[in-house]
Symmetry: C2
Subunit: 227 residues, 2 copies
């Protein structure tokens, strides 16, 4: 494996980062974590007004119970979504397909409270039978979640919403015998930075790593169609 010592690199110190212009720094730092999940959060208030909001901060918390976390910013366009989540205790997560990226991105505009982003961006609400929150009909992977905890991250006043998955809807034959869901085959996109959307192409799948067994690429024998 080559290292990169012979290439030209840029180095940013803590002080360099601190002195960047605000928007530049936001885009820069948002790029550094690596690729991010892209999801649409569906919520509604007690009057039935629906809200839809793109998030790239969903992270796996645990499988048993099945928990996902999501970092939310109370004083941004995510405010209405966060208020609905706190008020009703439920939300949906819906994957984003390549032909939905423009509509999904547009949900990040600052629509007034009471305006449905579903209507504004042209996506279709679909009732969940599990929770009082709308799915996105066009998505291929749809999750209903019940809030289990909301932790304030006091360091910057963001909030970690932890939800338990109580319903999963996905295409038949997208799950292989190991339980793996072929999210690439389901059309899910990945996000980088604040505004960039990416398709994916599988490079490799490996078995669980063991100390005495070198890993083998099992791409050819275990993809979803083999089950």
């Amino acid at each position: 494996m080559m290292n990169n010592d012979n290439k030209t690199h840029s180095v940013f110190s803590a002080s360099d980062i601190d002195q960047l212009p605000q928007r530049y720094r936001a885009e820069f730092i948002n790029s550094l974590s690596g690729f991010k999940s892209g999801n649409l959060v569906g919520t509604q208030d007690h009057q039935g007004h629906q809200n839809l909001c793109i998030v790239s901060s969903v992270v796996h918390i645990g499988a048993h119970p099945p928990l996902l976390g999501m970092i939310m910013r109370p004083h941004t366009v995510q405010r209405d979504t966060l208020e609905n989540i706190k008020s009703t205790g439920v939300f949906t997560l819906n994957n984003i397909l390549p032909n939905m990226t423009q509509a999904a991105h547009q949900t990040s505009a600052r629509y007034a409270p009471g305006i449905s982003e579903f209507v504004e961006v042209g996506l279709t609400p679909q009732p969940s039978t599990a929770v009082s929150a709308p799915y996105v009909a066009e998505s291929t992977i749809k999750l209903s979640l019940q809030v289990q905890d909301i932790q304030l991250l006091s360091i910057n006043q963001t909030e970690l919403v932890i939800g338990q998955i109580v319903e999963v809807i996905l295409p038949d034959q997208s799950i292989d015998k190991s339980g793996y869901v072929d999210i690439e085959g389901c059309g899910s996109i990945a996000v980088s930075g604040l505004v960039s959307y990416h398709a994916t192409q599988r490079l490799a799948r490996y078995p669980y790593a063991k100390v005495d067994a070198p890993v083998k690429n099992v791409l050819q024998r275990s993809h979803a169609n083999d089950t």
Copy 2:
């Protein structure tokens, strides 16, 4: 946009999920959040023993100060890494390139404490001048972080490690005029489920969404090479 009502879907209830076999459920739930970042965490203990550990749970917390979060499991192969992080208060994050996926995956094997995964998997430690933790020389994006907070997620006894970025090393010309880092051009891979690695292909970049301005695909005029 078509919805998917005319296709065949599988539905899992909370009870269905609860009754899945443990490993199947772990793989299943780990797939559902969407694509994940892939990073190698570099640490060392006070005796200088180095440790390297793949994580797919890094999430953006905030840009000012520049904060990343990472969900860690204390009773898994991540134990040594978490102990080093708590003991020294620092760690590095290093992106994973396509030719590193096998080595990166192999760091998830249960090597004994004191064994360096760098040596075992064939990656090269590179000193950070910012923190007492090793970078991965083969990575193209290298971050040094200082721990700011560790929050216990009491719901399942995982820990959210929050670190502030104090050094960034990346290739020249990978940052565009908006601050966006072309992590696809830098070779970063994405992760799905527990064991699947993906290359990406950019579909679109959009300007910040505004209520009265329909989004436009700016892929052609703002990619990194234009700066």
